[in-house]
Amino acid sequence: MRYIPVFIVIISLLPGLARATEFDHSALAHQTLEQHIRPGYTQLLAAARGLEKNIGTHCSAAPGNTLSSVKKAFGSAVLAWSRIEHLRFGPIMKKARHARMVYWPDRKGLGRKQVARALGKRDASVTARESLEGKSVALQGLGALEYILVAKGSEKLSIPGPARTHRCLFMKAIAANIVLISKEVLDQWSGRQGYAATFMQPGANNPAYLEPKEVTLEIAKSYLVALERVRDIRIAGPLGLQRKSTRRKPAVFERSGLSTRAITANLEGILHLYEKGGLMEHIERHEAGMGKGIQYDLNLSLKQLKSISLPMKAAVEDPDAEDKLMAIGFPLKSARKEAARVLTQAAGLALGFNALDGD
């Protein structure tokens, strides 16, 4: 027994080994789970239930002014989802749940066409959650609900009759579907079983993570890919600045005017993952000043986004707002590149050009 302390001292003096043991993968996983993933999905479930309740109230009463409450609850659900949308691993990626929450981008307007068709012929199969679940993903989530609530014909929600009844049942089915998806995902992340166990106990028999650093890679990828999507798709698309096309692309949740707020919530979610989830602390520990530098860039971008009150469609036509949106690109790019650099070194991650995204 008395040799053991000496052995530990020698091990800790070996620089290569010391570096490898410095990054506490398990602590990062624990913090991300407790402080980011669980709170995010808890808020999503609460917002989904609020949506379901408000739709129920609106639909069970005579048409009145309750529709504004439904729209408000819809906005809350969109923002709750946008704050956690960047998590693209675990239960949300099973059973096409991510696409069923929101089918976007929808280049060909499949969602619009399918919802319009279902409304037009008062399709009975979209009026119950169970049957809706088996239908096209574009009919099942927040995008479909947005169409029912605000697109042409939405005034029927305020006029008694079979059209209103059908719309109400369709909305209820979508809300129930969103509640169930949120609940199933949260259940998987709660407690010690389900995906939480997979996430927290990497090892040779783990179906997703063989080593602790693979969990760190999953967290890092979520952060890096989310930043890239916000910058290069969500913002550059409507600006007409994508490499392959200068045509202005529609923004997410453009129909309801929630586009800028949804993108802002995307960035809030990324910042939350970075700060509360623990990436900042780990980056700061390995390169003093850099953790806070990245935080500064993210906050700066967020502040600029929040100062834009126009939805994206109008913002990209407004010189002031357009300038701000373009300027955000630089700190967002830096926040991604610097984090990738430090994490590659500090956590020994394979974040290489092809390793991260080959084919």
């Binding site: 696409a99 929808d106 063989l210 392959k244 394979a350 290489g352 050009f353 080959g358």
Partner: protein, 333 residues
Amino acid sequence: MFAAALRDPDGGYTASIFSVEDGEVSRVALPARGHSFAMRPGAGECIAFARRPGTFAVVFGPGMDRPPLWFAANADRHFYGHGVFSRDGRLLYSTENDFETRRGIIGVRDATNGYRQIDEFASGGVGPHDIALLGDGRVLVVANGGIQTHPDRGREILNLETMAPNLVYIDTQTGEVLERQELPKGLHQLSIRHLTVARGDRVVFGCQYKGPRNEQPNLIGFHKRGEALKLAEIPHSANVRLNGYVGSICADRFGGIVAATSPKGGVAIYFDVSSESFLGLASFADASGAARRKAGGFLLTSGSGRLAWGRSDRTQPLASALAGAWDNHVTRL
């Protein structure tokens, strides 16, 4: 000379033709990330394809006395990044996605007429990726990766539970599927992605596993027409190093040795074709492309911008005249 796509230090994308000794010979700026190349026999030109789900392709090369020629996939199609020419250099076959019907497609274009598309036929599966011509010059072999994607969803796998990869042989004269081979049940998430035709028309393929991480099926397979697909026997410790992912595969100039790379594992791995046996494995960080060298062995490229001369028993670094990150493949011109 070789051709490869790369990401420039300033973040732009380029298709480059270069030699190890003399550096770059020709280059074209690309609008987005490129993937692989098809060499046109006897013409000194090649095609750089967009990476999936891209839609552009560009013809360029030292043999061309005109500016680069661009062409695009048809509406409702995108490229998968691979293609091959007919032996006479007249027709170009490319793997494509008919994403509305989810069908894999082989597009046929006439190189003597501005690469106008003249035909297309079914690839015999979903998500065709790599493609090559057998020795007779008439039969194509296609790796249908089995992964369904849609450009609106980027590179997301839409059919993880129901994937069905296969290896298909197609008669270029008729478009008819001559033979379709699938992996045994239980390996439906083993995406057959890249392939090379080695000596005696032996097809060697490299896979990417999309199933549970704690399952580690062998990722390299051999096939001879008329027989069943056979996964190579790889020492477990070597197979683990591939990290579930093979990015490129290539036979050497004699067709007797095959190299495969894994960027996720940071290794190159070598096999003897006639005995289908494992020869060795070497570390090479973010290993990406592998192409046969005239002097024997392989030119290896990496996402961190390195070049090396890879052989089963040693990896020798080579000076690179180009700055940037090498993309997935390198092809001999």
